[in-house]
């Protein structure tokens, strides 16, 4: 298939050896590449019961076929493994430039196996694959690691073109909240992946190369990209809101609809004058940064200058503002910015870490845990303590060890599992599922835990981009969720970012795919591939010990109506939606894909 390099690199850290292998073109046709191919290879090679932190678990980094070709937003590389937090399959996505550089370095995918005896860095630079000792990097933040590695390269020209993924202290300490970070400050958003990387004693992967990518029909491809850029520019959300503020522009909208959770999902309308877009403008100097080939450029970089909080990094996204800020009762943007930068430096997942802290805060407030027990005075609204706690968690100091195990473990060991707001061990992304029903259904059924990036239903439920849907209604939502879940599987497999779907239709991507890859897919063919991938992941999770009883939400969402704000009185109705969702997916009432469904998806031999 054009677009792809057609090779992957297999590195065995136990033996210190590597091997270059060809990708079977039939697999590309069936799974596209990126997430699809990564999941296929992972599920073929790894036993679902494997302990995530054992050397038998593998870590796969896979860039899709459109990555690096100049297809708009063709930038993302998927990080696939069995997560040590959720124990499900995990698939995180890098943004920035790492994914494209991996392809220029000559590989569509890297498979990491085994465990190195001492810390190492995998360096794939100009066709030389080396496993370098990394003792001097151990203990350093992700940003320091990147700076030091580039310095050690000795050649500023090479350093300029080298891109890294790395783990911070959290990953080294095998915390289930740990994340992988790429391009210095971008969290990939997959709690548990950092710990897996840490368990392999792998501190970082560096890539650079000068391979060319082949595009099937260059002239047509260039025209299609032109058209897509124009279309995108005529869509105000994608071209203005995202470009100006990044995803943070959603904060105000979600607040107005009662979707933005406050204080561990208990309130929705505490006064919040400080976190809207205006406040963002005054708290930070926003500088737009784009991922590879992205005309949107939603990443906002900044330098925080505040009497208490200072640092350099990313302006908080919607996710960070929600999870580390508002849901912990904090609305000081400088503090939230600091917390989110700290997460990136330490290699902590902002959603999982924010969720653990919010859980702890409620436990303390309800007097289940005493601040003395935690040895830290966590309270809703106290930003300084939150930042202190994040540092302690990542370095596993003091009694933050308990916090570092995640919200679920903390709530369970305190005897109040009901106070953990998460599914499959992962804290909910900051969308109250009672006020946005489709998202709630996705949170309950997602293969990767409750993360909004694997089904952007809010494009229609909240922003009304393609369809005008009422977030509180459940009609049509199971179909919507299925469609978005499959769409995101396709986009991830191609290596594209989901955000431009805020301005483009999925159909607009079909000519892009075909002119680049030399294929003749129709939109439905691609969605079928997405469905195939979703089912393959489901099958893996089922064998890993999950079943329909895990497709659920915490009782707070199904039993306690929202107590205030615009969505007051709403309750999540997932139990009404799940049967229809299973039915649409062709699954039985136990949520299992029966043989005929698997056969229709050509997965019968899986």
């Amino acid at each position: 298939m054009d677009g792809c390099i057609g090779r992957y690199l297999r590195v065995n850290l136990t033996e210190g050896k590597h091997r270059i292998e060809e990708i079977d073109p039939r697999l590309l046709e069936k799974f596209l590449g990126g997430r699809g191919l990564g999941v296929k290879v992972f599920t073929d090679e790894v036993d679902p019961q494997t302990d995530p932190l054992s050397p038998d678990n593998k870590l796969i980094l896979a860039s899709g076929p459109l990555v690096g070709t100049g297809a708009i937003t063709g930038a993302s590389c998927n990080v696939i493994t069995r997560s040590s937090l959720t124990k499900t399959l995990a698939c995180a996505k890098t943004r920035g430039h790492f994914g494209a550089e991996l392809k220029f370095a000559g590989f569509d995918m890297v498979i990491i196996e085994g465990k190195a005896e001492t810390p190492v860095i995998l360096s794939i630079i100009d066709d030389k694959v080396r496993i370098l000792p990394a003792l001097e990097y151990w203990g350093r933040s992700t940003a320091e690691t990147e700076d030091l590695f580039k310095k050690n390269l000795g050649d500023p020209w090479v350093a300029r073109e080298t891109f890294l993924v790395s783990i911070g202290p959290a990953g080294e300490r095998l915390l289930p909240l740990a994340n992988v970070v790429n391009d210095r400050y971008l969290s990939v958003g997959g709690a548990g992946t950092g710990a897996v990387m840490g368990s392999k004693n792998l501190k970082a992967i560096a890539v650079k190369g000068r391979h060319s990518l082949h595009v099937a029909d260059g002239n047509r491809f260039v025209q299609v990209v032109n058209t897509m850029i124009n279309k995108l520019n005529s869509a105000p959300l994608a071209s203005q809101s995202m470009t100006q503020w990044g995803t943070a522009f959603l904060v105000g909208l979600c607040y107005q609809k009662g979707i933005l959770p406050q204080n561990n999902f208990r309130w929705a309308s505490l006064s919040l004058k400080n976190v809207g877009t205006e406040a963002l403008n005054s708290a930070f100097v926003l500088r737009a940064r784009g991922c590879f080939a992205c005309p949107v450029a939603c990443i906002k970089k900044t330098v925080v200058k505040h009497p208490t909080y200072q640092g350099k990094g990313m302006v908080p996204t919607y996710l960070a503002i929600g999870a580390l800020g508002v849901n912990c009762g904090i609305s000081d943007l400088s503090a939230i910015g600091m917390a989110s930068m700290l997460c990136a430096e330490m290699g902590l997942d902002p959603v999982a870490a924010g969720g653990a802290l919010a859980t702890a805060m409620e436990l303390v407030e309800k007097k289940v845990l005493s601040p003395e027990e935690l040895k830290i005075d966590l309270r809703f609204g106290n930003a300084e303590i939150l930042i202190q706690a994040l540092r302690l968690i990542a370095t596993k100091k003091g009694h933050a060890k308990r916090l570092g195990q995640g919200g679920k473990a903390l709530a369970e060991s305190s005897g109040r599992p009901d106070l953990f707001m998460g599914v499959k061990g992962l804290s909910l992304a900051p969308f109250d599922p009672r006020a946005i029903q489709g998202m709630g259904l996705h949170f309950a059924t997602s293969n990767y835990g409750p993360h909004h990036l694997y089904a952007n239903t809010f494009f229609d439920e909240l922003l009304n981009v393609h369809e005008n849907l009422d977030p509180w209604e459940i009609d049509g939502k199971p179909g919507l969720v299925k469609r978005y879940q499959d769409t995101s599987a396709v986009m991830d497999s191609l290596g594209l970012c989901n955000w431009p779907l805020m301005g483009l239709k999925f159909n607009n991507y079909v000519p892009l795919v075909n002119s680049c890859l030399g294929t003749s897919y129709k939109a439905d063919d691609l969605l079928l591939i997405g469905e195939r991938i979703w089912n393959l992941e489901r099958v893996f999770n089922l064998s890993a010990g999950f079943n329909s009883s895990h497709d659920t939400l915490p009782d707070r969402f199904t039993k306690e109506p929202i107590s205030d704000g615009p969505a007051e009185g709403q309750i999540s109705r997932i139990s009404e939606m799940i049967p229809e969702y299973y039915h649409l997916r062709g699954w039985n009432e136990k949520g299992e894909p029966p043989p005929e469904t698997l056969k229709a998806l050509e997965l019968e031999n899986e």
């Binding site: 690096g68 070709t69 060319s212 990518l213 260039v222």
Partner: protein
Amino acid sequence: MPRIKIDHTKCTGCRHCETACSLNHVANTVNPRRARIRVMKEEDQYFPVIAGPFVDAACTSKQTIVIGNQTYDMCALCRASCPQKPYFIEAETGIPLKCDFCGIPPNPSCVRWCNTGALELVED
């Protein structure tokens, strides 16, 4: 005479211009290292640099330039393809690369794909 005006404060570092250039000059091929425009990252700034003429010897002195409170390496911002720096040299053949305005009439592909206004075609 038409010129490409570069406003580095608008550049997001997306490197879409590099892919556009490479696609336009090497049929059906994308490779930023074969592009005649490269986006240099210096400290926190991105500087799109368009390939100028080839020089067969490197400068004998290093130069730096101070903008605001940051010091930049002039070599990175320099347009020449030069033996000292591994840019603007066609990877496969070793031939030096130079911007040709994408032919006549000028319709530079990098400008077309730059969505931020960092690259602009202006007429004097």
